[in-house]
Subunit: 350 residues, 2 copies
Amino acid sequence: MQGEPIDTLETPSVLIDMDIMERNIAQMQARCDQLGLAFRPHIKTHKIPDIARRQLAAGAVGIACQKVSEAEVFAAAGFRDIQIPYNIVGARKTKRLAELARTADISVTVDSRAVVDGIAAAAQKAGAHIKALVELVSLGKRTGATPVDALTLAQQISATANLGFAGLMIYPSNAAIRPRLLETLERLAAAGIPATIISGGGSGAVREAHLLPELTEMRVGTYVFYDWNSVSQGYTTFEHCAMRVRATIVSANEASRVILDAGSKAIHSETVGGLFGYLEEFPDARLHQVNEEHGYVDFSACATKPAVGDILHIIPVHACVVSNLHNRLYGVRGGMIEQVWDVAARGLVW
Amino acid sequence: MQGEPIDTLETPSVLIDMDIMERNIAQMQARCDQLGLAFRPHIKTHKIPDIARRQLAAGAVGIACQKVSEAEVFAAAGFRDIQIPYNIVGARKTKRLAELARTADISVTVDSRAVVDGIAAAAQKAGAHIKALVELVSLGKRTGATPVDALTLAQQISATANLGFAGLMIYPSNAAIRPRLLETLERLAAAGIPATIISGGGSGAVREAHLLPELTEMRVGTYVFYDWNSVSQGYTTFEHCAMRVRATIVSANEASRVILDAGSKAIHSETVGGLFGYLEEFPDARLHQVNEEHGYVDFSACATKPAVGDILHIIPVHACVVSNLHNRLYGVRGGMIEQVWDVAARGLVW
């Protein structure tokens, strides 16, 4: 399909506007360069080595993956500096992590003694060295340790063979977290433990990165494509959204409603304001319901209603979960298919 | 992994209890046999040829697929009687449909003149014969034609070379649709057009199939695994739920809440009563939030809280969308992995 017009694509297909993606990559790198931050794109948004290579070529220092299995795919594709900002738990996973660390520069995050113990045992058994960052609990209270526990974990890591304490990780790293970060850094300093890396993350948090001058690097994923979520949360505008799901109208028997061939299998089922996607050609149309293979669009606020066979383009609510549903993404420019990408790390949950 | 204990599986993994699945297959076939209905399982729930073969071996007459690409996978796996209860729209899709119909017994559904025209053109060009059922609009008002339009479409199909009018399709085929179905059948009879197949469908509707004696076949998908949706809607009980997502606790720093390694990439993001899955070991726990790789579980209503490294089993909200997220499902019995199934038709959206 490469080199052919977009019209030769079946629907639903996921298009990536190359111009917009390239601009997003350049602008985020410039923003981090300006702040003096190392930039580490999170591959969860695209799961495609070729796109990560473009991010590295623009100046990124390495990548972040969320799973060992994703890191395995990217290591096999030649990536060397891979951070997994996730608690790796279980003997088989830590064994695979340690194997990876024998050939690549692997760092992970931890938030409890149990997680450190498991990784340490595997690293020692494999004779591998693994860098560990302690995750500091953020305002979102997902994972992470308190400042007091962070110090204890940093001491544990520093005292453990085959592990190295590399610093702190925060997600999302909004400016409001600064008092907690400063408290933790003071505790570490008082104990004589240097924190080399202070890794922040989050598409929203990157806008506030200048308010957290302690950060040394940023991890951001969504910026490469952006999505309706990013727009609705004020992180960007539609002109920066690179991903579109191309869909066909397959039924139009109701007065002001049509059915698209893109449902939750193509655009997922997350919502913005109760809607499952933003229709580029009809901003007032409401994609208000999805089944697996059907999208329901209400055109009652629109002057015209499209017909069976017409093609529409949906800006999805959440780009990362859309990439994870599709075997291929199509990079497009000037009406032509420029890239056909296998989503190499799609569906990797281990 | 086949023949090894379940404990050798990484998490998150999708387990299918073979005993429960086999009982579900036998019971649904017995129900349809008792009603004198042909049974046509919808493969969307599992997307795995081996499971469809078990459904045929139990007495099913053929299968239903929702996409041409799914039908292509199952035709290549040897299936011959394939119904696609979907409007196939677009020149490339109808061409592939017609190619399939040259070697397999393919039926589709239609709900507009435009859809019939497209399929007819492709069938004529390929020299294939395609059976078409007219979809009657159901109370859900998704796709489908009115009784008046259904007659017009049946006449159009009957008068078109390479197409054959096969009957009517309804989804969901609840008993409340009977007046509309009877009206349509009367119009067809008055026009001298026989409707050989009256195809009903839906996990809930199968319970009311005896109230629609005009039905000749039923299409049901979810029954093979069932899920929390099926239980919450009263279609079945938990003891018939065959699918579980096996997950590990990766963080437990909050007082009464833990984080699982199963999020929307493993269990999807549909909900029952605001919850994303039912925890088998802790019925009072609340899986109240998911990110892509994290599930948040509140244990404040439970007497005990599990620890990092503990393994839990989630009965998912919607089995079909879970199958579509995973590359493999694992059939288990007596604590052992009996089957390792590639989800052959996973992610096929064309």
